[in-house]
């Protein structure tokens, strides 16, 4: 069917689409812009103006030189030690017990503190804390957790979870907030999730809203709401799954991901995974395409195509050779989120990360 009219309004009008346009067009946005507050341009301009421009004027140069001298003297004489309760950092609030930020302990009398860059937040078995960052989101830190703040700047917010459990609700733009674990990096793509890391560095992530990307080198996983994914030190993310899948399916997948060693074992449990899968488990099947050996890929393709037919532009041959564009097109067909969001993050994150750490 020609979809030119749907695409750009050209070609022969489709009566059904016209009817839909007529009915839904009543809901079109027509509200005027609100009165926007004054745009505070000072820090914006400072950030964008080339450094040397400020020195075009001699009086600025004189003032700046004076400030530099004072700053240098202050730095070398006073050298203030970082204080977790003042200055820049992420706001931490004690919920229970005695969470520690660096060497400082939060208690009933001083229930709030700041987690500064490079600092560590630790909760013992009786403690719980809450981190809230206005521009980023909120993170509940469960007992027995240790995390660090290696990086937080404009457009890049990074936590490292060494062990324990956190519950994150993130409202920063997708891709701006990541959590490093010993076995994978969790990338927020607009979501709420729980991340647990055990003492050996293995972990599991449960998404409750939106979706999360899980990545170690080229090994990646997308975890939408209602799904979970394990991760193992050195090997990275396993295969995501919906938690309401059948016990047999989950047991076989667990074996496939983490316990099997020989190709024969993996092929055997793959048979169970395919046989037990439902339409909803297309999430798992799509990920398996890149995780099985080439001889098994055709079986996974057939099972996935049985539930979600390959869309236009996706061929069996292309999937068998793991064509990235075709995999992305099929992923979009599953309805969990647009792969372009993740690809955009992949294109920009290394650049952001490098620049921010300089």
């Amino acid at each position: 069917m020609n979809d030119d009219y749907l695409w750009d309004g050209s070609g022969e009008p489709d009566p059904e689409i016209q009817k839909l346009e007529s009915a839904l067009g009543k809901l079109r946005h027509n509200r005027a812009a609100p009165a926007f507050p004054e745009i505070t341009a000072t820090h914006v301009q400072a950030a964008r103006r080339p450094f040397w421009q400020a020195f075009l004027f001699p009086r600025f140069a004189a003032v700046a030189a004076g400030i530099l001298v004072i700053a240098a003297i202050s730095f070398f004489t006073l050298r203030p030690k970082p204080n977790p309760n003042s200055g820049a950092g992420w706001d931490v609030t004690r919920v229970t017990g005695t969470p520690r930020i660096g060497r400082d302990t939060l208690g009933a009398q001083n229930a709030t503190g700041k987690l500064g860059l490079g600092q560590m937040l630790e909760t013992d078995s009786q403690s719980q804390a809450n981190i809230r960052v206005e521009e980023v989101g909120e993170i509940v830190v469960d007992p027995g957790t240790r995390l660090r703040l290696p990086d937080s700047s404009s457009g890049v917010h990074r936590l490292a979870l060494d062990r324990g459990t956190i519950h994150a609700s993130i409202w920063a733009p997708a891709g701006e907030f990541v959590i490093d674990t010993p076995s994978a990096m969790a990338v927020d793509l607009g979501c709420a999730y729980t991340l647990h890391v055990d003492d050996s560095g293995n972990g599991v992530l449960h998404t409750t809203l939106g979706w999360v990307g899980f990545k170690l080198a080229d090994h990646e996983a997308f975890i939408p709401a209602g799904a979970a994914c394990s991760t193992k030190r050195k090997t990275g993310p396993g295969t995501p799954y919906f938690e309401d899948a059948s016990p047999a399916f989950l047991a076989a997948l667990s074996t496939f991901d983490l316990e099997s060693s020989s190709p024969e074992d993996r092929a055997a449990v793959l048979h169970v995974v395919l046989a037990q899968s439902r339409k909803h488990d297309a999430l798992t099947l799509w990920h398996l395409l890149t995780r099985v050996t080439e001889p098994d890929r055709g079986r996974v393709y057939d099972r996935l195509a049985h539930f979600i037919p390959a869309p236009a532009g996706v061929t069996r041959e292309g999937i068998l050779r793991l064509d990235r564009n075709m995999l992305d097109l099929w992923w979009n067909e599953l309805g969990f989120g647009d792969s372009e969001l993740w690809r955009h993050w992949e294109r920009t994150w290394p650049d952001k990360s490098t620049k921010s750490s300089k």
Binding site: L27, I39, P173, G190, L329, H344
Partner: protein, 193 residues
């Protein structure tokens, strides 16, 4: 792409998105107003795919007010649309996190939403029924479909505004429309029985 807004140039003269962003960054509120005019429909459509209709208009304003002080963090001004779309999706997620008693979109919008917005068209049962059908589609499809059918944006415009590839938008529109036709057909069948 490097954008330079020229001194003395009013916002009205600035036709390019990135020049508007640059102008807004330098304190030009009318430039931000023009960005609102260009992108409000996109924001409205994305929200309509995710939150109850009665709250959509207020949230559109919220999104623009939330984005304003963060403009300086936008490193690539040519990605303003994609950046704003991401803020919008996150605002919708945040809406659900903050809501005590609503997580899922209601099935029957005419019953749940007509009270607060009588002129919105939801007193029209057909509109409500179609909207409900669109909102029952996977997220990947309902967003471009609402931008196309409600906001009147063309496919190329959706791709340009949201920062998605034209191919991706075209496929999603096509597939979404296919599924919507099936749903509407099934509903018609049910009402005739």
């Amino acid at each position: 792409m490097h954008c330079i807004s020229h001194a003395g140039q009013s916002a009205a003269d600035v036709s390019d998105d990135c020049q508007l962003v640059e102008a807004a960054c330098q304190g030009d509120r009318s430039a931000y107003g023009l960005l609102y005019d260009r992108y409000a429909r996109m924001v409205h459509g994305i929200l309509l795919a995710r939150v109850p209709l009665n709250d959509v208009d207020d949230l559109v304003h919220d999104v623009f007010l939330q984005a304003l002080p963060r403009l300086h963090s936008l490193r690539d001004v040519t990605r303003f649309g994609a950046w704003l779309a991401a803020i919008t999706r996150n605002r919708a997620n945040d809406y659900h996190r903050q809501s005590v008693d609503e997580v899922e979109l209601p099935d029957d919008l005419s019953a749940n939403e007509s009270g607060g917005k009588p002129t919105s068209g939801l007193d029209d049962a057909e509109t409500a029924s179609i909207l409900t059908a669109v909102r029952s589609l996977p997220e990947t499809y309902r967003e471009p479909l609402l931008l196309r059918l409600v906001e009147g944006m063309t496919g190329p415009e959706i791709a340009e505004r949201t920062g998605l590839t034209a191919g991706s938008v075209r496929v999603n529109l096509h597939r979404g429309m296919q599924q919507l036709r099936e749903k509407l057909q099934a509903r018609r069948g049910m009402t005739h029985e």
